[in-house]
Amino acid sequence: MSESFRQETRAWLEANCPPEMRQPVRDETDYCWGGRNAVFKNEAQRQWLDRMAGRGWTVPDWPSEDGGGGLSPEETKILKQELARIGARNPLYSFGISMLGPALLKYGNEAQKKRFLPEIARGEIRWCQGYSEPNAGSDLASLQTKCEDKGDHWLVNGQKVWTSYADKADWIFCLVRTDPAAPKHRGISFLLFDMASPGVSTKPILLISGYSPFCETFFDDVKVPKDQLVGEVDKGWDVAKYLLGHEREMISGMGLGGQSGALGEALREAVTADPALRADVARFDVDAMAFRAMSERFIDELKAGRAHPAQPSMMKYAGTELNKRRHELVMAAGGSDALEWESERSRKGKSAREWLRTKANSIEGGTSEIQLGIIAKRILDLPGA
């Protein structure tokens, strides 16, 4: 059965994945984010998204009625292997897929699932994540964005920060405080709203890489329809935490790196004349290949319901620390070529900018320190942790 699925998948991909979409991603503009104002770099990118979405393969393991492919864990794995085999690009980058979708599948009501999941699967709405606030980062549960019940609508006031792509997103999934009197984890609710709502504004923040993908996001008397609250009022923390597990799983994928994960072959020329660097790269490759095995094991266990609920924290920690090391080594191997910041030769400082960007991997989605704390507390059950 799985062999025939593999053959069939391989044939379909062969016929349907445009050759351009089998080229390695060159830069940010090669990512397709979808959304109301989707920008497609070329026709191949649009086609690839349409064809994959048509089969529900942007989210192969979601139920078919929610816009997914309805594949089993086994089939999903085969599909991923076949995609990797031809070097196919991800047809759609989406916080809707990696974060909000799983939370809606678990906590959303039928109407919400019907309304939001298929458009996520098709990449029609681009989502952003409104969690962090200036004084609520690691201590997320201390968030203060105020949400009042005004009878026929919610009224939201407050500020978020580090909201990735808030200026490009159509909708936001947002944590708000609905009960200021309750203990901090208990008065939080999980709200969805349109970024085009009156009273929402964003201000981009420039990153050290020279790009500004994230924003300060302000809410000034934003009216939100009553049916856009997910789960129960004041019980949003459960939804928030569940979503974070998926976010961490997604971010841990950074640890995998491109095709093989190992660096040595790509850097062969640079490292052979440099014994210390060669040794560093070889040690990295050991860790990278071991992490790949861990990642496969984690996904298999997760889909089988056998993973510890806090295991995404371990994966996120290991994967992001690994990715930071990868880019340190790429910089070391690249030497002064990789230091160039604007030249065409360096593709406008691609190596250096990517290297700097990876420094956020161990911060975004909960810092490494927070992940280690979760492992100590929830997996190791250490006293006082």
């Binding site: 580090w162 030249s343 420094k359």
Partner: protein
């Protein structure tokens, strides 16, 4: 000699610290020139001020109008430059170049301009992406009563603004250094902005004709001058890295005492306390190794080379740890351009690469020790 600063040196440190924190501050210099997309990557007015302070002549003999001080003192100034990320030609011009041409007619030619803060010099060693001085291939062929230079150089810091560039080349007789003046026919200079906003140049020598008196020292005997240049450059870069790392650490420790999460200062979390304490230890060790290398250089000790490699590698690693921990412990704000910690990370990267990264230095040490 005790391994701490003398009273005179401590006084110089006070002066340099005050000067750099004021005149060479990040907002005033680095950000200012960066945001103007300055083609030099540094301000000439500040270079003039360096001269007025006597800094540019720090390694030049008193008889020639300089301060006649040594590498310990040069390092004191460099550490403050590192702390403030002050863009200036100091390391390359006043340390590496001055050391390399010492005692030659090129010193008489260029020291006055350096003393007055009018001249900028550069040194061209690297030819590929990595520092490999043992593999220099730029050709110097006899031509008339001079030489023709052909080949390429890269990572020539301030090469686009330099009045004179010291070029390491291969003549039939062996490695030879040439002082090539700005605007030489056949020399193409491409200024390239680097991650830290400094300007490194790529140079193409397409049969550049130079007179015999462009040779620094003797033809075929460039090894000695090149190793003086590299020892001084590496030790200087180590001192600057100690400054970069110290300032990044100070900023970070300051932040730990100020940022609150979970109703506590984040500096109360032992997980961060221990890492900050570890970082402090590494920076102190790097500072000691650097001071040792400086003293050995000043003594003309035969053991200097190993310690220079140790200093450059250790300071590089310690500073790298400081900037990495710095960004991480700042959380989201550490990733923003508005906040200075990221600028330290960029500078650290460039300085680590300059004159050989920690891996290069470790390998060099291993070879010196015979393994």
């Amino acid at each position: 000699m005790p391994l701490y600063l003398t009273d005179d040196q401590a006084m110089l440190q006070d002066t340099a610290r005050g000067f750099m924190a004021g005149e060479g501050a990040i907002a005033k210099e680095l950000r200012h020139w960066r945001d103007k997309a300055c083609k030099d990557g540094f301000g000439h007015a500040l270079w003039k001020q360096f001269a007025e302070m006597g800094f540019t002549g720090i390694l030049i003999d008193e008889a020639q109008g300089g301060l006649g001080l040594g590498h310990v003192e040069a390092g004191i100034v460099l550490e403050e430059i590192g702390r403030n990320l002050t863009p200036s030609p100091f390391l390359i011009t006043a340390i590496a170049f001055v050391e390399a041409v010492r005692g030659t007619p090129h010193a008489d030619r260029w020291y006055p301009g350096i003393l007055s803060g009018d001249a900028v010099a550069a040194v061209a060693v690297d030819e590929g992406a990595k520092h490999r001085p043992e593999a220099i291939a730029l050709r110097a062929e006899r031509s008339g009563n001079g030489f023709r230079l052909s080949g390429r150089k890269q990572f020539v810091v301030q090469g686009a603004s330099a009045d004179v560039i010291l070029v390491a080349a291969q003549a039939d007789e062996g490695l030879t250094l040439f002082a090539v003046e700005k605007g030489a026919a056949g020399l193409d200079v491409e200024g390239v902005r680097l991650a830290d906003s400094s300007i490194g140049a790529r140079l193409t020598f397409d049969g550049v004709e130079v007179d015999a008196d462009a040779v620094v020292g003797e033809v075929g005997a460039g090894d000695g001058a090149l190793s003086r240049l590299l020892d001084a450059g590496r030790t200087g870069a180590a001192a600057e890295l100690v400054g970069v790392g110290s300032a990044a650490m100070d900023m970070t420790v300051g932040y730990l005492k100020q940022r609150k999460q979970f109703g506590r200062l984040i500096g109360e979390f032992q997980a961060l306390q221990h890492r900050a304490a570890h970082l402090y230890s590494e920076i102190e060790i790097a500072r000691a190794a650097t001071l040792k290398a400086q003293q050995l250089l000043d003594e003309g000790s035969p053991d200097v080379e190993a310690m220079v490699a140790v200093a450059k590698a250790k300071a590089g690693r310690a500073s790298q740890l400081a900037v990495q921990e710095g960004v991480q412990m700042h959380g989201g704000i550490g990733m923003t351009d508005e906040y200075d910690i990221g600028l330290y990370m960029k500078r650290d990267r460039v300085l680590n690469e300059l004159f050989g990264d920690p891996g290069f230095q470790a390998d060099r040490l291993a070879r010196m020790k015979g393994y």
